[in-house]
Symmetry: C2
Subunit: 207 residues, 2 copies
């Protein structure tokens, strides 16, 4: 267990990190990632460049931190969305709805530029990927519940484990989102995801 009491020095450090984080957030929202330099971030924050690299491994690491925090908040959103379904709803319908919801968030709320940077950071491994791809992520638990429901209701086949199906569903979303990132703007993420899930759900059906 870490010591929760902070001394002045540690408090100052957290404050410095927050100044950098907030300045970057504002600048990125105004000018976009590509048009904001590390120099301009530290100037706005009123700290030195070296200080930036004390608190963040890289510019991308900061961007990923911003986006990851945002995405983590969204899992809560997905969860409340999921809880709004009646208990007798069909699993395949819930699945399609939540997938549609997720895709809407990716395209409309987060947006292409941020998604591209996250997916880039995931593959270059310049960040801790666990909050996004780790099987502990709340998103996996939610999908797990839905799939379990589908099997219990005899909608889905039982040839594969719940975990396997869950992983493949989320992997499919991620894969199509990657495709979106490399084909943008000539690719409609939502319709392609829905088509893909139509095939997948058909393949998962009992019989």
């Amino acid at each position: 267990m870490k010591n929760l009491k902070l001394n002045n020095r540690q408090a100052k450090a957290i404050e410095t990190k927050a100044k950098i984080y907030d300045s970057a957030d504002q600048l990125f929202r105004t000018y976009g990632f590509d048009h904001v330099s590390v120099d301009s971030i530290v100037e706005k924050a009123g700290v030195s460049k070296g200080s930036f690299y004390v608190h963040f491994d890289s510019k991308n690491s900061l961007i990923s931190a911003l986006a990851t925090d945002f995405v983590a908040r969204l899992d809560l959103d997905y969860k409340s969305f999921l809880e709004s379904f009646p208990p007798n709803a069909m699993a395949s319908e819930i699945l399609l709805s939540i997938v549609g919801k997720i895709v809407d968030v990716l395209t409309l709320t987060i947006g292409y530029n941020s998604m591209k940077i996250i997916y880039e950071a995931l593959i270059t491994r310049t960040i801790n990927t666990d909050p996004i791809v780790g099987y502990d992520r709340e998103l996996y638990k939610m999908f797990n519940e839905i799939i379990k429901k589908g099997i219990d209701q005899q909608e889905f086949q039982t040839e594969m484990t719940i975990d396997t199906i869950t992983k493949h569903c989320i992997m499919a979303i991620r894969g199509i989102t990657y495709e979106w990132c490399i084909r943008y703007p000539d690719f409609d993420l939502k319709s392609e995801v829905l088509i893909h899930f139509k095939i997948l759900l058909n393949g998962l059906k009992k019989q």
Copy 2:
């Protein structure tokens, strides 16, 4: 139609471009894209940095050229593999075989490091991705043929167009390969791809 006769100056220019291309190819294979600078390429090629930018718009443009040539060679290999199947073979079996073949090439011949570099380049660099992801790529034509055969033989449903199914199959391979790149080494590409295609093929079957 361009003039096919080259004068000395044009011949020298082509030679210079080739020197840059070959030097880059060797260096990239040895050290990877990220660890080879433009300076080191032009030094090895024995030309100036400015000369590099006469022949290539950017470092990424050069990478793109290399990737284009590489992919073209791969597709030839896949094609000859495809032609080895008897005419009466089932489409789903051919599909599974070629998918297995592709995955073997990705994992064994190309390898994780190079694949990561390519997938990273696709999403990060502003390279011309067309030779790899463009629907004109030979790979799409090959898949198209197989899917068409499956529909003609009444194996597959006709709810979606051949093109749609083709695109979603290749997108699935690419998506799972992306997942492999971000989870390596805790992910068995071949078995996951085969599981995913089992679901997909089941979902594509007639009835």
